[in-house]
C-alpha cells in the first residue's frame, strides 16, 4: 500500500517536473516512469537499511540507464529523461534541515547534515556518470 502510494506520487511529481521543464509532450509519460522507478529503488533500498548515500547512488545509476534507453528509443536528448528522474533524489529535505539548524545556531548538527547532503549530491553525480561510462565501454566493446 505504501509502495503504491509512493509509486503514484513519484510518477505524478516527475511528470509534473516534465511540464515545468517543458519537455516534448510525447516524453511526459516516460519521464514520469523514469522518476517513479528511480524513486522506488531509492525508497526500497532505504527501507532495508541501506545508507541513503548508497541508495541514492544505485537509484541514480538506474535512472541514467533507463534514461539512456528512452533517449535512444524516442530519439531525444538524454537530459530530458534523466532530469525528471533525478529531481526526487536531490537532498532538499536534508539541505533544508541543515539550513534550519544553522539559523538556530546549532552548528554541529547543521554541519553534519550539510555534509550528508553534499555526499548525496555526489552520489547522484557518480551514479549518473558511472552509468554513462559503462554504456560507453559496452558500445566500444561491440565495435571491437
Amino acid at each position: 500500500m505504501v509502495l503504491l502510494e509512493q509509486a503514484v506520487t513519484s510518477f505524478i511529481a516527475s511528470a509534473a517536473f516534465g511540464v515545468l521543464f517543458n519537455v516534448p509532450r510525447r516524453s511526459l509519460l516516460p519521464c514520469g516512469f523514469v522518476g517513479m522507478l528511480g524513486w522506488l529503488v531509492y525508497f526500497e533500498l532505504n527501507n532495508v537499511e541501506f545508507d541513503s548515500v548508497v541508495a541514492t547512488l544505485v537509484a541514480a545509476f538506474v535512472i541514467a540507464a533507463i534514461s539512456h534507453m528512452f533517449a535512444k528509443r524516442y530519439k531525444l536528448p538524454i537530459i530530458i529523461f534523466s532530469v525528471a528522474g533525478i529531481i526526487p533524489l536531490v537532498p532538499g529535505g536534508l539541505a533544508f534541515n541543515a539550513m534550519k539548524h544553522f539559523v538556530q545556531n546549532d552548528y554541529n548538527a547543521a554541519l553534519e547534515m550539510a555534509a550528508k547532503a553534499f555526499m548525496i549530491s555526489g552520489a547522484i553525480a557518480v551514479g549518473l556518470v558511472l552509468s554513462e561510462v559503462i554504456n560507453h565501454v559496452l558500445r566500444n566493446m561491440k565495435k571491437v
Binding site: K75, P88, G92, M99
Partner: protein, 249 residues
C-alpha cells in the same frame, strides 16, 4: 568554399548553439551539435568554445571568429529537442543550409509551450506529491499544494520585475515559508518542515545540477564550475528565504 557560404554555415551553427544553451542543454552537447552541424555542411575543423555565458566559434583562419553572448538561461527542453532533431536531419544530409537556417529561426521563436497557469498548477501538484514521498500525511497535501503553487507563482512574478534570479528565488522561498507557517498556525497543516520541503522542490535547480556534473565529468571544467556556482546560488537563495521565516518566528 565561398566566403558567403562559410558565413552562412557559421551563423546556422551559432544559432543552434545559442538556442540550445539558452534552454538548458549541457555544454558538451552544444559543442557536439555545433561540430556536427558544421561537418554536415562540409566544415570539418570547426572549433568551438562554449561556456554558460557565451559561445566562441571559429572555422578556419580565413573567416573571422564569431562570438555570441548568452545572457539568460531557462529550462525549455522542448527547444533543445527541436534543435537536436534539426541537427540530426542536417547530418543525414536531407536539409539544405537555407532550410536549416529557416527551421532554426522558427525554433528560436517558439515560446514556452506550457502556459503559465499550467506551470503553476504543475508546481503545486508536484509539491503535494513530494510531501507524500517524504512521508508526510495526506492531511498536509493541500497546504503543500497551496504554498508550492504560491511560491512558484511568486517566482515567475518577481522574475518578471526583478531580472536578478537570486532575489526572485529568495522571495519565492520566503513566500513558501510564510504561507506554510501561517497555515500550520491556523491549524490547516500539521508538519511545518515537511510542507516546506515539499513546496520548495519545484525551485530546486535540478537541471543545473545534473548539467554541472555532466560537464565537469566531460572535461568542460569552466562550464561545470560556473554551473555548479549557479546551482549553489539558487540553493543559497532558497535556504535564505526559509531561514528568514524561521528567524522571524
Amino acid at each position: 568554399m565561398q566566403m558567403t557560404q562559410t558565413h552562412e554555415i557559421m551563423d546556422v551553427c551559432l544559432l543552434a548553439g545559442k538556442i540550445m544553451l539558452e534552454n538548458g542543454a549541457e555544454t558538451y552537447r552544444v559543442e557536439d551539435t555545433m561540430a556536427r552541424l558544421a561537418a554536415s555542411y562540409g566544415i570539418n575543423d570547426a572549433q568551438s568554445y562554449v561556456t554558460p555565458t557565451g559561445i566562441i566559434f571559429s572555422v578556419d583562419g580565413l573567416t573571422p571568429t564569431k562570438l555570441i553572448r548568452i545572457s539568460e538561461r531557462t529550462n525549455n527542453l522542448d527547444k533543445v529537442a527541436t534543435v537536436n532533431s534539426i541537427s540530426r536531419k542536417a547530418s543525414e544530409g536531407c536539409l539544405s543550409i537555407k532550410e536549416a537556417s529557416r527551421e532554426l529561426k522558427g525554433a528560436e521563436k517558439l515560446g514556452h509551450a506550457t502556459p503559465i497557469p499550467l506551470q503553476i498548477a504543475a508546481a503545486a501538484i508536484a509539491s503535494g506529491c513530494f510531501l507524500i514521498m517524504f512521508q508526510g500525511g495526506w492531511g498536509d497535501f493541500i497546504p503543500a499544494f497551496i504554498s508550492g503553487g504560491l511560491g512558484f507563482a511568486g517566482m515567475i512574478y518577481f522574475h518578471h520585475f526583478v531580472k536578478i534570479k537570486f532575489f526572485a528565488e529568495l522571495l519565492a522561498s520566503f513566500i513558501i515559508g510564510l504561507t506554510a507557517f501561517l497555515m500550520v498556525s491556523i491549524g490547516i497543516g500539521s508538519e511545518l518542515d515537511k510542507i516546506i520541503i515539499g513546496s520548495v522542490m519545484p525551485l530546486v535547480p535540478g537541471v543545473v545540477i545534473t548539467n554541472a556534473v555532466r560537464d565537469l565529468m566531460a572535461g568542460h571544467l569552466v562550464s561545470g564550475l560556473s554551473k555548479g556556482a549557479e546551482a549553489l546560488i539558487t540553493a543559497f537563495a532558497i535556504g535564505t528565504g526559509i531561514a528568514v521565516v524561521f528567524a522571524i518566528y
